[in-house]
Subunit: 216 residues, 2 copies
């Protein structure tokens, strides 16, 4: 599985170093508060232009970070998708939405930075589209959403998209807030990522099941 040449290994190691350093600095200081120079030196590269050389612009770097994690999350998605089988219980499909994220964060060990990174990128006007593209590139996710919608066929389309957006916001920002609390050693409502997922699923299922007030 190792690279076919010593040189290629060196390169991918450098890229990985830059990627993780950038992710950490972005999460802790803010994406736009960190320059490519700082990232390069934090990654141990004497070259202050290493980021530009390997990735190009900052938007490209953000995309590379998102894609790296996106790949790992996608693997978990296909697994939970398989586990869910052909269930008709909405709760199972909400779990398929939530657990890939929380399990990925749990697998990263402690501390993590990705959730805070995602939250920032999702709210930044210049980077928002990047994250959206990378997320929509997941076939498993689209399948899960389809099955989720199938489990409540009589919900109006506008409410479906409205609550779908809410569920997305909830997952991203709840994870980011927990990650922030962990980083600051502040008390968290839940003891583990697994429990956090349970709380999220409870809340999102309740949200989806909520009766719709007729306009008037």
């Amino acid at each position: 599985m190792a690279g076919k040449s010593v040189r290629a290994d060196q390169v991918s190691a450098t890229r990985e170093l830059i990627l993780t350093a950038a992710e950490r600095l972005f999460a802790e200081r803010g994406v736009y508060a960190v320059s490519n120079r700082r990232i390069s030196e934090a990654a141990g590269q004497g070259n202050n232009a290493a980021v530009g050389y390997h990735f190009g612009t900052k938007a490209d770097l953000v995309r590379a970070i998102a894609r790296k994690h996106g790949g790992r999350i996608e693997q978990v998605r296909v697994r939970v998708l398989d586990e869910a089988g052909d269930s008709n219980d909405m709760r199972d499909w909400v779990g398929c939405l939530v657990r890939p994220v929380t399990e990925h964060l749990a697998a990263l060990g402690s501390p993590t930075w990705y959730a805070r990174f995602c939250a920032q990128v999702m709210t930044d006007p210049a980077l928002h589209d990047i994250m959206t593209e990378e997320s929509l590139a997941s076939p498993a996710l689209r399948c899960i959403v389809r099955r989720l919608h199938g489990s409540m066929p009589d919900l109006p389309a506008e409410v479906r998209s409205e609550r779908g957006a809410m569920a997305r916001q909830l997952i991203v920002h709840t994870c980011a807030e927990r990650e922030r609390a962990l980083a600051e050693s502040t008390p968290t409502p839940r003891a583990s990522w697994h429990d956090t997922a349970t709380g999220l699923v409870d809340a999102i299922v309740g949200m989806w099941r909520a009766p719709v007030t007729r306009r008037g």
Copy 2:
């Protein structure tokens, strides 16, 4: 009601000009992508240091914007708080949480920038605390939260705080997403801010009422 002197009016007008220009640029381009210089010239001030003169650092400017809107929102809060009276229906208190925000955005006319501004500030590690402080400074909000908690006395404390945080995230980012869609002329799930509030209240009430899965 006007200022007591011509000069004082001039000054507060300049401050207001800077405030609105900054809010707009922050929402459209990102808080850290906009320099104080750009804000000054967008506000029609030949002085490229006008922002620094009137407000100080960028964090101070952010706080000033948050405080300006916070004051208006607080007025709506005390009104809806009065309207809710001594209701025991949780839905009324969730409405007290949601409507001040949506009604304020509706009152601002179109387009608005404050919701996107808030979403960014809330997710930025360096600015997050500022927004939190400004929000917690609202006595009406604290009262509403107390009444809301009182309407579901048998909910465990951890779940209470967990879902409280979720409701916060939901309100901020749902409004920001709608505002973004309006700015880009993208279809929105709801036709008005009033309907958006209805959808938010439906969802949040459903979330609060959701049964809590026992850990296991």
